[in-house]
């Protein structure tokens, strides 16, 4: 059961056309997600890590059927999501839900909590008014709010409470798969732990599978079993979380980890902080996408796309120099 793939993504590309430009110029595009392939197994928490703007939300939207990909396939429960139409598509998608990055904009300011949380039930139909209210109260209590909040509006709540409402709505129809798109990044640090604990508890109680998007490595380390490090729309390194943390191979992963360790103490270890800015996803660097900021970059990196190197069983890395690390490790 536990190693069955719930979600499979194959060579997924999502490009956005760029408006403007000169009439006869070659049409430019933002390569928001480029050639992503991975599997999320039933019951696990899958981490997706990357800097702001690297295409995490776009990838999540493509998986959820909200952003038709330029090419590639998404399989959910073994079915090709984008091959389905109309009713079948909706029926399959009902088992997926999302928790949004910005809790305020994910709640309609004109609705009260009852309306917000019971909306998925209203849409599916087959619930009476009383059933919906009872279920909403039950859900509110599950996420740590109370019955008194039923008729309040989103603006009356704090950020953390709003995210709890979003979570209650997402789990209202028992989804099998839940995408958590940086569920705490817009919140105060003091409530991070509460929300994360809530998510973990709900996962255990309801047996959901999570795709957990974050740019916080510490969080991913503590809750995810597998992860992908993404940079400018491409996967840099992927595999079981503990292996990646123990033996980071890609210079980008290493730099990210160093940046975290940096906060800890003034340990004598030499630091490799990432230099410079994230390049624009329009016209990404040829060859390896990280080459403009990589301290080891050579001519080869700038011109040739890196191969996928198997570092350990299940642990892969896209870097020209990963071979060296394999023997080193």
């Amino acid at each position: 059961m536990s190693d069955k793939a719930l979600v499979r993504v194959e060579h997924l590309n999502v490009f956005f056309p760029v408006r403007g430009g000169l009439p006869f110029e070659k049409k430019k595009q933002v390569e928001a997600v480029c050639d992503m392939t991975f599997e999320i197994r039933q019951g696990e928490t899958f981490g997706l890590i990357g800097e702001s703007g690297c295409g995490k939300t776009t990838l999540a939207n493509a998986i959820l059927g909200m952003r038709p990909p330029t090419s590639g396939k998404v399989f959910f429960k073994g079915q090709d999501l984008y091959a389905l139409k109309g009713k079948d598509f909706k029926a399959l998608r009902r088992d997926m839900q999302m928790i949004f990055q910005d809790p305020l904009s994910s709640l309609n300011p004109r609705f009260d909590v009852l309306d917000i949380i019971s909306e998925p039930m209203q849409i599916r139909g087959g619930f009476s008014e009383e059933e919906m209210e009872a279920r909403t109260v039950e859900l509110l209590e599950m996420v740590g709010l109370s019955k008194e909040d039923l008729h309040r509006h989103p603006s009356d709540f704090s950020g953390g409470q709003r995210q709890r409402i979003g979570i209650a709505r997402a789990i209202s129809l028992h989804p099998a798969f839940l995408v958590c798109d940086e569920p705490v990044s817009a919140l105060d640090v003091s409530v991070h732990a509460q929300i994360l604990n809530l998510l973990m508890r709900l996962q255990k109680e309801l047996g959901m599978t999570y795709l957990f998007i974050s740019h916080n490595l510490a969080v991913v380390k503590s809750i995810c079993s597998h992860m992908i490090v993404m940079y400018l729309g491409k996967a840099m390194e992927w595999g079981p979380t503990d292996k990646i943390y123990k033996n980071p191979v890609h210079p980008y992963t290493r730099a990210l980890l160093d940046a975290v360790l940096d906060i800890d103490v003034d340990n004598k270890k030499e630091k490799k902080l990432i230099q410079g800015e994230l390049p624009s996803p329009i016209d990404p660097p040829k060859g390896c996408r990280f080459c403009t900021r990589c301290e080891y970059a050579t001519e080869k990196c700038r011109t040739e796309a890196p191969p996928t190197v198997k570092v350990e069983p299940g642990h892969y890395c896209a870097c020209h120099f990963a071979e060296g690390c394999v023997s080193e490790a």
Partner: protein
């Protein structure tokens, strides 16, 4: 179980009524809004119950012996000089036409503008392009000369006037609604509803329409006021329905009937005050509404508002400032792994 289907609908109607009542209560609580509401209700009462208020038929031009009477208990505002119609009852019955034309046109504009704005914003693609091009063209057409031409071509009836004003009036509202729809369409709660399987119809009626309703209500009040003035202008120029009595038409008769000559100032003042009160009350309500919906606008002086609303750039401005407000605060809480 039979209530399963009926109940939500009944409840939704109830909610809608509650919402409307809530708006009225809010206007009532707003000091300036209350003045407008009272005046408008009095005018509406007069219009609806006109036959109870005055016993003379304003259309009766046969009272030859009572021409040009001065105000008395019998005729509070006297009678006209040439035909002997009772001016007071003309004023009361005139409210029917003026208010009806103003409000019906306002409602038609609200419906059409709202529909076009939502279509352009929500459907997008070529529909959007088409509607926005039409809007661009409509904006540069000079309305008054065209209105004169069209009324001459198709006959001077109030149906025609409502039709023409609607035809040229929806553009501004459509633009405003469209931009608001675009904001709503990109918000995450629409995404959440779509994920849960909501169809286009549900998203339109449950999320988008309520999201633009405040803009539409407000603009209906303000445009109704503007239309009343415009209708008076047209009637004064003799382009209104020649068979109906409206305040604009009364003004035209003041001019042609020689009120100036005889110094019948009450005859001149009556329709003027009628128009003033109607427009004043609608503007008051409109402005109160917009302060209710958008407390930030309080700071702007009402003279400026009036100028802008005559300039028809006002609603856009209100909307712009709302937009800023809706934007979620950018929080500094983005402590990530990479500092």
């Amino acid at each position: 179980m039979s209530t399963k289907n009926k109940c939500p609908f009944g409840k939704r109607v109830l909610k809608l009524l509650k919402g409307i009542a809530g708006i009225f209560i809010k206007i009532w609580k707003h000091p300036r809004g209350r003045v407008g509401l009272i005046i408008l209700l009095v005018l509406a009462f007069c219009a609806v119950f006109a036959p109870l208020i005055t016993r003379y038929d304003p259309y009766d031009v046969t009272a030859r012996c009572e021409k040009g009477l001065r105000p008395s208990w019998e005729h509070p505002l006297g009678t006209t000089i040439s035909t002997g119609q009772d001016i007071f009852s003309m004023l009361i019955y005139g409210a029917r036409v003026s208010l009806a034309v103003g409000c019906i046109t306002g409602l038609c504009i609200a419906c059409l503008g709202c529909l076009m704005g939502i279509l352009a914003g929500y459907v997008g693609g070529w529909v959007d392009t088409l509607i926005m091009r039409i809007v661009d063209v409509m904006l540069v057409i000079p309305t008054l000369p065209l209105t004169i031409v069209l009324t001459n071509l198709f006959g001077k009836s109030y149906f025609m006037i409502v039709f023409i004003f609607t035809l040229f009036g929806w553009v501004g509202l459509a633009r405003v609604v469209r931009s608001q729809v675009l904001v709503i369409k990109n918000s995450n709660y629409i995404k959440a509803a779509e994920l849960a399987g909501a169809g286009t119809w549900r998203i339109m009626t449950r999320h988008i329409l309520p999201g633009v309703s405040h803009l539409v209500i407000m603009s209906t009040c303000l445009t109704s006021a503007g239309i009343m003035v415009a209708e008076a202008g047209l009637s004064f120029l003799g382009l209104g329905d020649p068979t109906a009595i409206s305040w604009g038409k009364m003004l035209a008769e003041v001019q042609s009937g020689g009120a100036m000559l005889f110094g019948y100032w009450w005859w001149i003042a009556a329709p003027g005050i009628g128009i003033f009160l109607a427009v004043f009350s609608l503007m008051r309500i409109g402005m109160a509404l917009e302060e209710i919906f958008n407390p930030r606008m309080k700071r702007v002086s009402s003279g400026y508002k009036l100028f802008k609303s005559l300039n028809s750039s006002y609603i856009q401005e209100v909307f712009d400032s709302m937009n800023d407000e809706d934007r979620p605060e950018t929080d500094p809480g983005r402590e990530g792994g990479q500092a």
